[in-house]
Subunit: 216 residues, 2 copies
DNA sequence: GTTATCTGACAATACGGATTGTCAATACTG
DNA sequence: CAGTATTGACAATCCGTATTGTCAGATAAC
């Protein structure tokens, strides 16, 4: 019963496995095509051609273009965040060190993969409420990786200042990244990291100052 | 000859004047409609209805939807920047004071006009290269208003750090603004200004530190 | 009042892409 | 090998909007 008759194998693969493979190919192809013509310029047909699949398989895995965009975004960003978290952990106990490690990894990857960078930095905005929600979620994670929310800030922030700070920080980093990418990396990674870090430091230190307003 | 036969008057207006008036009505209507359904959801027809004009007049003044978007953007942002410049000037000689004055005006206006705020903060990105160029230009102006480029920084920045700093600063402010607007203004203007200013201060002070790297 | 100009409503056309459907070719199973 | 599941190519349909065109009615000039 446990291994009830499985679906016919093709290329040594389960029906499920084949489906999963096609799904991945579509995601990879989408990233590629988005990078060429942007999300808006990307037609279902073009993506399918790039994936060497036909439209039928598109709708097998995704309800519509937007679903694929979200899947592709999560695919890329999820992996990136994992790497950043690992890099931060490897950075030791010092908040400053971990921050720099995470940022360095971030900008390094951005430089290694220009195509997805452009799309997922820029075009991900304003597509639809669903996409925006996904992006907001990712940005929250991003922020928490860079500057982990202090436990002791729990009660001391009824005003929502912490939210503003983390917004600003993420906005600064993303904005720097965006321009750096679209100008094709005019500055070395270290310089970019240094500047980005100086904005993150605002969120890092300002949160503490807040505890004792007299410091400012 | 000087006052050669002008076009027939309608409603006491020149042909030119009527055209200009229609153009303005279209821009106002566009801002309204964009605010309701977003730029992408805004059809030519809907905008024309809101403007109480027919499509014919749309194409009289604009080559296509994108042209109207750009015109509307420049209309709103141009005015805003004028006001910010004035506010900054009224702030006196102190860079910090001028910064706060400009930011206060900025966030105050944002709160007064939620609809255009959303569109021109968010949806303006990634429409097309032409629109992006217009936006980049506006952001440069914005940056220069907040933190006027120091004259003495001329030679000391071959690395493009100043560019990175101003990108980050603008990114932080815009990002804060965006979320603040879409969350319907949870914090008072003063708090938002204070946090935004702390990010701007990075660009303000970091530029100086750069002159003597030992300071950091 | 007559005529030329301008206006508003709306029809006609054009276009591009999403989504679904058909069918023959191919790859596996027994 | 015969039979069925699976695939790939592509046609057919659907849908919505941009853009252009038509025409009767309204408005100003003389």
């Amino acid at each position: 019963m446990a291994s009830s008759r499985r679906a016919r194998l093709y290329g040594g693969m389960d029906a499920e496995e084949r489906r999963a493979e096609r799904r991945l190919k579509l995601i990879d192809a989408a990233i590629e095509v988005y990078g060429e013509v942007g999300y808006r310029g990307a037609t279902v047909k073009a993506i399918c051609e790039a994936a060497e699949l036909t439209e039928r398989y598109f709708y097998e895995s995704f309800a519509n273009s937007e679903a694929l965009l979200i899947a592709a975004y999560n695919h890329v960003v999820g992996h990136l965040h994992e790497e950043m978290t690992a890099a931060a952990a490897a950075g030791g106990d010092d908040a400053e060190m971990r921050l720099r490690a995470a940022l360095t990894l971030y900008f390094t990857r951005l430089k290694e993969h220009p195509k997805p960078a452009r799309v997922f930095l820029l075009e991900i905005s304003g597509i639809s409420p669903a996409v925006d929600a996904v992006k907001l979620d990712a940005l929250r994670v991003f922020s928490d990786i860079l500057v982990p929310p202090a436990l002791d800030a729990k009660g001391s922030d009824k005003s929502g200042t912490a939210t503003l700070l983390s917004n600003g920080m993420v906005g600064a980093v993303i904005s720097i990244a965006l321009r750096w990418v679209s100008r094709q990396y005019p500055q070395p990674v270290e310089d970019v990291v240094a500047v980005a870090a100086s904005f993150c430091r605002v969120a890092l230190t300002e949160a503490n100052h807040r505890q004792d307003p007299r410091l400012r």
